[in-house]
Amino acid sequence: MLNSERRPSMAERRPSFFSPGPDGSLQSTSLLVPHLAGIEDPLPETTPEQVDVVIAGTGLIESILSAALAWQGSTVLHIDSNNYYGDTWATMTIDQLKNWTTLVNDKSSETRFYKDAKLYVSGLVSQGKFKSKNFGIDLSPKILFAQSDLLSVLIKSRVHQYLEFQSLSNFHTFENDNFERLTNSKQEIFTNQTLPLMTKRNLMRFIKFVFEWEKNTEVWEPYADQPLASFLVDKFKLEKPQVFELIFSIGMCRNLNTRTPEGLARIRRFLTSFDVYGPFPVLYSKYGGPGELSQGFCRSAAVAGATYKLNHKLVSYDPNSQTAVFEDGSRVRVTEKIVASPTQHPPNSGNIPPQKYEVHRLTCVVEKDCLQWFSEGENAAMVVFPPDSLKTGNTETVQVAILGSGAEVCEPGTSIWYFSTTQEGPRGDLDLDAALEAMIASILRESSEIPDDDELVQINPDGVSLVNSVKLGKSFKELVSKEQINFIMKLYYTQYTSTPPFDVVTPNLFDLNKSDKYMPGASDNGILYTSLPSGEVSYDEAITAAKLLYEKIVGSDDDFFDLDFENDEPDSKNNNKTMGNYDESAIADDDDDDDDIRMMDAEPVEFAGEMEI
């Protein structure tokens, strides 16, 4: 329902978009073609003196918020103190990471959102063998589930047209010093020779249940406060390998304490995402992850009329005069709200929410393409080290996202390994190191040339040599390769966030800076702080947070991306004539060397928004 405090939407403020109905009332809000203010209107001569909303920080949450507000009709001034887009979600070159590390380690900085950044860059970069700008490294790598609210918003807003997506179907679990590929489809469960019949039956029974788990309260409610593992063992008689696979590879949970309802929701997320676009559950964007998405949403906001200023720093906000002051001396009156990422806080701030949770990260660029870990035609894989699978006896999982050069984030012959864990304290880095060691051992084993030593080559009874057994790693586990892994870059850091591991942002985070709680003398009274990226591997938190902030500003989230671009052509006489005229197979790309098909503006759109399977 519409909230009475809700600000009028863009459509209501611009009556020209409505055709009066027979009774004089305004009609049809669903077929509005939004006004492309940023393109169609002349630019104002100077910086606006007054805006509805100021947003500081171009991270993903702020960028989604900016686009949502701009399309809703609010005037937005969106700034960032950095000279790049993305803030804590940025995608960076190696040179940018060098600067970033220096800034993070600057002891004089008043508030710390990162700690212990240690960067190693190979001399091969300065010698020119590898070029810094050919790498796009994410500060907060994320994967996109095919069935998710962010994906729906990407389509609805058309921001997906700025991006290119690829599929990720390989999920490996590390067990017994070996990688097992995930059995993730019904077919695979049936055809998997190693699973006993009873196990198959139990697994199928569980999968059937989990799609509608919320309805079947009687089954799980007794376990509502119990770990998912006990529920799976008690109720579905599943055994450890399946339980671990479900909790850690499919559910991507961080530890064994994950409670039953959260765990079930996470398992369902994976399974419902499977086969939405094909036989894979997850997508990621080429050229970089959240940093790319942030740029896309910012551009979308700009098209809707938002003003952009990088290298622009907020120095104070006065809630009484509602005036924001910037480092260059300029100021702007804010009629509605000022929003800032904690990293963009003004000096002498007093209201930044506590960032209680730690995420330890290790990002490596290695001189190995790692193709053996990817599905054919793909350029990425996930590896999960469940609790107690590392020599450190880890209690939290270590998750690793691997991206290859086909994702256009690194040079051919290299790949990026993103390790992360929610293990706090010094143990976190030890776990990351142990996982790195296991990964190196495995890739060296799997990519080693078979030595010309007869006893190492296994021959099948039919005389075929088992070259593939090397790839499985087990047979030659003891084989110590003389080969080394070359690191092009290695970066450790600890990041802080207000979002608990695997949780989403809660509304009360945004209630902190209320007028009755102003800090005397603080420069940031009245500023609404956003949340920093959490340890969650998916994008799930981003839309939740952006929507909550939107509601705080607009009064309701009813018209959050309430857009309809179906009629992309307002005044054309042959509207929709272009739809469906193109033979997709005949589209050639520009100078590509891979076989990309660009997303086209004129492609049939009947599936838009229909994400049901």
Binding site: I39, E40, P42, L43, Y85, A146, L151, L154, R158, V159, H160, Q161, Y162, F165, Q166, S167, S185, K186, I189, I207, F211, L271, F274, D275, V276, Y277, G278, P279, L283, Y287, Q295, G296, R299, A302, V303, G305, Y308, L310, G406, L563, F565, D568, S572, K577, T578, N581, S585, I587, A588, D594, D595, I597, R598, M599, M600, D601, E603, F607, M611, I613
Partner: protein, 207 residues
């Protein structure tokens, strides 16, 4: 069909958007289809007989004002095939700025096949003004020549020369990519189109 990304550059108020709008409006006939999209404008054109009547599509990216405070994202330049660098013929200060945009472009786009066209806009206003207050055409032409740029003077208002700019770029792009048309029956690429969910459920693990 061949599809190309074309980006606009130049200072605010030189009329970048007007050029595109004029192009989209004027080239609207039965062979030429356009969409004013939320993401970018797309416009299909058909080349002359000399170029095999090839139909090609421009995906035109407007700066949406993000150039104003030097806040264009890397995404804007990525994989651009062509660029219009626009200045205002009645505003002598706008040519040096256009030159800076050319430098910026060359730094950001490493593709040496990138086609850059220097465009002087507002030709319709030039007639009313003293020639001393205008941008020196020969200077612009020379700069274009030295830097291997195409050069045109246009009027987005009257439409003069606007289509010519796009046609010339289209012709060069066609010649550059002619060979690829023969092999255009490519298998589906590794990119996933988000507007096309799979309708075939046979591989599904879902009940």
């Amino acid at each position: 069909m061949l599809q190309f990304k074309l980006v606009l550059l130049g200072d605010s108020s030189v009329g970048k958007s007007s050029i595109v709008h004029r192009f989209v409006k004027d080239s609207f006939d039965e062979y030429r289809e356009s969409t004013i999209g939320a993401a970018f404008l797309s416009q299909t054109i058909k080349l002359s007989e000399q170029y095999d009547e090839q139909v090609l599509k421009f995906e035109i990216w407007d700066t949406a004002g993000q150039e104003r405070y030097k806040s264009l994202a890397p995404m804007y330049y990525r994989n651009a095939n062509a660029a219009l660098v626009v200045y205002d013929v009645t505003e002598p200060g706008s040519l040096p700025k256009a030159k800076l945009w050319v430098d910026e472009l060359k730094e950001k786009v490493s593709d040496d096949k990138l086609i850059i066209c220097l465009v002087g806009n507002k030709l319709d206003l030039a007639a009313e003004k003293e020639s001393s207050s205008l941008v020196d055409e020969s200077e612009a032409r020379e700069f274009a020549k030295d830097n291997n740029l195409l050069f045109h003077q246009v009027s987005a208002k009257t439409g003069e020369n606007v289509i010519k700019v796009f046609e010339e770029i289209g012709e060069i792009l066609y010649l550059q990519n002619k060979d690829k048309i023969q092999e255009s029956k490519k298998p589906a690429g590794s990119n996933v189109s988000l507007q096309r969910p799979s309708t075939n459920d046979s591989q599904s693990c879902c009940v």
